[in-house]
Amino acid sequence: METGFINLFHGFEVALDPHNLLWCFVGVLVGNIVGVLPGMGVLSAISILLPITFGMQPVPAILMLSGIYYGAQYGGAICSILLNLPCHPPHAVTCLDGFPLTKQGRGGVALGITMMGSAFGAAFGILQMIFFAPIVAKAALQFGPSEICMLMLLGLLAGSTLAKGSPLKGIAMTLLGLLLSTVGTDLNSGVERMTFGLTDMSDGIELVSLSLGLFGIAEFIRSVNNTAPLNLAYAKVSMNDMRPSKAEMKQAAFPILRGTIIGSLCACIPGTGPTIASFVAYAMEKKISRTPERFGHGAIEGVAAPEASTHSAVQGDFIPTMSLGIPGDAVMALLLGALMIQGIAPGPMLLTQHPDLFWGLIASFWVGNIILLVLNVPMIGVWVKLLSVPYKYLYPSAILFICVGVFAARHSMFDVGATLFIGVFGYLLLKLRFEPAPILLGFVLGQHLEENFRRALVLSRGDLLVFVERPLSAVFLSLSVLLVGTQVFFWLQRSKRTARLAKAQALMGDA
């Protein structure tokens, strides 16, 4: 423990070196701006800025590139809450309650709560990296295909009631998401599925296209019908309205804590990343809430939990990348590439061979998060003022950014067309009162579920018992069964009670 502190102290020396500090600042600032711009993903931002790191020393280069990643998360929530535009997939779920809060004129409060949750989640994630990195790295090796498969199943079951309104419609949308996740080349057989012979679809549907289409574009088409040029409720936000009240902070405290824990657990499982973490956190919050009917209509918890979980997962994501040399997701793969360009091979030896880099990075997380708070808290007022820009200017410019961002990701006009098509489809779903969030959940979890289910069966030579024989997998499976069981039990209870009430009323009516 003592050496941990000495190392961390050394890390702060590295992070606070004026040169490194400057690059860390540049990184978080760029990240923050990229985060706010819809469609402009972290991946493109890092790819664009990567060439300038070639001539840099490894430490400032990595501090800057990492800064873009976590800085973008702070910005990502802003458009989700204020404009229903999930600039990055992890923040899609924040739209569900964030945007209704904005419509009630409480967008500032939602942003305030988001900042609190983000800072707490990030702080926890960093502590986890300092003290538990070896344990987390070891835990990552415990998650084989059967465990991941069962965990995804649990996530799907917990999240299928994610949306407001009819549960049946929610399940239908989850299944649609699962179906969409199968589009593209089958990883096991190499056969193209549901691509309609289009080479551009052979790698499946882009997550960015799906989330921006279903939320951003669909909302835009819906707003086009709005004859009112400006929703005055949006603009009437005073400084006082932006500060969360004590009661609101209290209401958000436990969801933030729970979200943080979920995020850090997700960080242990390479491949899951912040998107799954935020969906699971939201689903769990709704599940354990005494008043789940408030979710989707502007519940503070629905903003606090997913945001905290995103941030703790983002910080925790660095653990498997740095300590095992295995990237958890595409952004981490990019950072790994950046390290390789610098001639550094991440892995178990990173800590001993490049302590400057490892501890400097951790310390820079603290520094970077503080800079982000300082940058963002005073900016909340400015962001909220964005809403007073009339629709006719605001949304077309957002659409432009969406198109540029989606195009930049793969240099593909097809993806831009796909986003617009999905947007129209999403609008039709909204009109028919189908919620888009479960589609995204099904899509994100579906790929992992199928891939790991099939791999587990290949490894066990088709024996389904593998899901019960491995302890961790058995635990997740039991939890899934328990979840469905309690759901059915409560449903039976409710219907019995309703039947009894109806009977009593009928009797009273007879009397």
């Binding site: 890092i46 790819s47 990883l187 052979s202 790698d203 095992l324 295995i326 091979a345 593909s412 290949v458």
Partner: protein, 340 residues
């Protein structure tokens, strides 16, 4: 005096005219203030993408007119999208693409999704011809060499069919009878390495020299991983004595197919422009490519990332493509069968 002045003026005019003629290099004039776009068929910052970016940083200096260079990623369909891009890209020498050798040979295999003609593309060259390895991790019971693998089954991790990792593994399995039980469906090498660490699978084929020099250097040094066979045009002893795939057969038919998988495909990641680039510009691009690969700054950076330069010229690739185009249909039918 007048005559002298006239002669002087004439001489000066001729000198100036001569200089103007010398300066007006049509290739330099064309590339001046233009941008050369290098399209990468790979995801940003993967091993191959890093190599193209490295080239992009240096090649501009060697092209007359010194154009700006821009790297653009167009991943998808096993780099086929980037290769197909050459069909609609302008054939003026401002767009080049890098993709896999396998994507380049898809038209021969009858893949209708491949829209280009490999014989007509303006080949520039390949930076590094593949020398790849099969490795075992954690010594699975009773198997420590490729010969052992011919008798005893071992679980091998693999990506989706049609990827390098899958094709190499399945070719060894079907041509040489290696008893690999393939667990396919891992999204890429990082996921397979995680599976190796977890003990889920015990081996993998398609490990590149670059990874062995960087990420896997430590495991290689402490003996946790063992290289059992190497594939490719030429062999190396850099990582100890590792037998070549060609040592395991004497049958000419089998060797012919091994040649296809481990020599033709070992061109690496060829770079090409659209068909019909004006000859002068194409020559300039090829020359610039070769000169860049000799540039000291380029070589120093390549060394830093563990990349070995092993160039294939445009001529090498063109003749390889011509050779492949002459193979009968039955050959490709068999290649298809082997790679399934």
């Amino acid at each position: 005096m007048r005559v002298y002045v006239r002669a002087l003026v004439l001489a000066a005019t001729m000198l100036a005219a001569g200089q103007a003629v010398a300066q007006s290099d049509p290739v330099a004039d064309f590339y001046k203030n233009r941008t050369l776009t290098l399209v990468s068929g790979f995801t940003p910052n993967g091993e191959n993408d890093i190599q193209l970016r490295l080239l992009g940083r240096h090649i501009g200096r060697y092209i007359p007119g010194q154009p700006q260079t821009l790297i653009s990623n167009m991943p998808g369909a096993g780099t086929l999208l980037a290769a197909n891009h050459l069909v609609k890209a302008p054939a003026d020498g401002t767009v080049l693409s890098m993709f896999t050798a396998q994507a380049a040979t898809e038209p021969f295999l009858g893949n209708t999704a491949a829209l280009f003609d490999p014989l007509k593309l303006s080949w520039i060259g390949s930076m590094s011809q593949d020398r790849q390895f099969c490795m075992l991790v954690g010594a699975p019971a009773g198997v420590s060499s490729f010969s052992d693998l011919l008798n005893k089954e071992v679980l091998f991790g693999s990506s989706a069919p049609a990827t390098d990792i899958f094709t190499y593994s399945v070719a060894l399995k079907n041509l040489l009878g290696a008893k690999m039980k393939l667990v396919s469906g891992y999204p890429g090498m990082p996921a397979i390495r995680l599976a190796l660490d977890r003990g889920e699978v015990n081996g993998v084929c398609g490990v590149s020299e670059m990874i062995l020099r960087t990420n896997l250097a430590e495991s290689l040094a402490n003996g946790r991983l063992k290289l059992i066979v190497q594939m490719g045009r030429s062999t190396t002893d850099e990582f100890g004595k590792v037998p070549s795939v060609f040592e395991y057969t004497k049958d000419p038919k089998t060797t012919e197919y091994l040649d296809f998988f481990f020599r033709a495909l070992a061109i690496g990641r060829p770079i090409a422009g659209p068909a019909g680039i004006p000859a002068q510009r194409l020559d300039a691009l090829r020359k610039a490519f070769a000169e860049t690969l000799r540039d000291e700054g380029f070589l120093a950076e390549a060394k830093k990332i563990g990349m070995s330069i092993n160039m294939a010229t445009a001529q090498d690739i063109q003749s390889q493509m011509e050779l492949l185009s002459k193979k009968p249909k039955e050959f490709y039918a068999e290649v298809k069968r082997i790679s399934e």
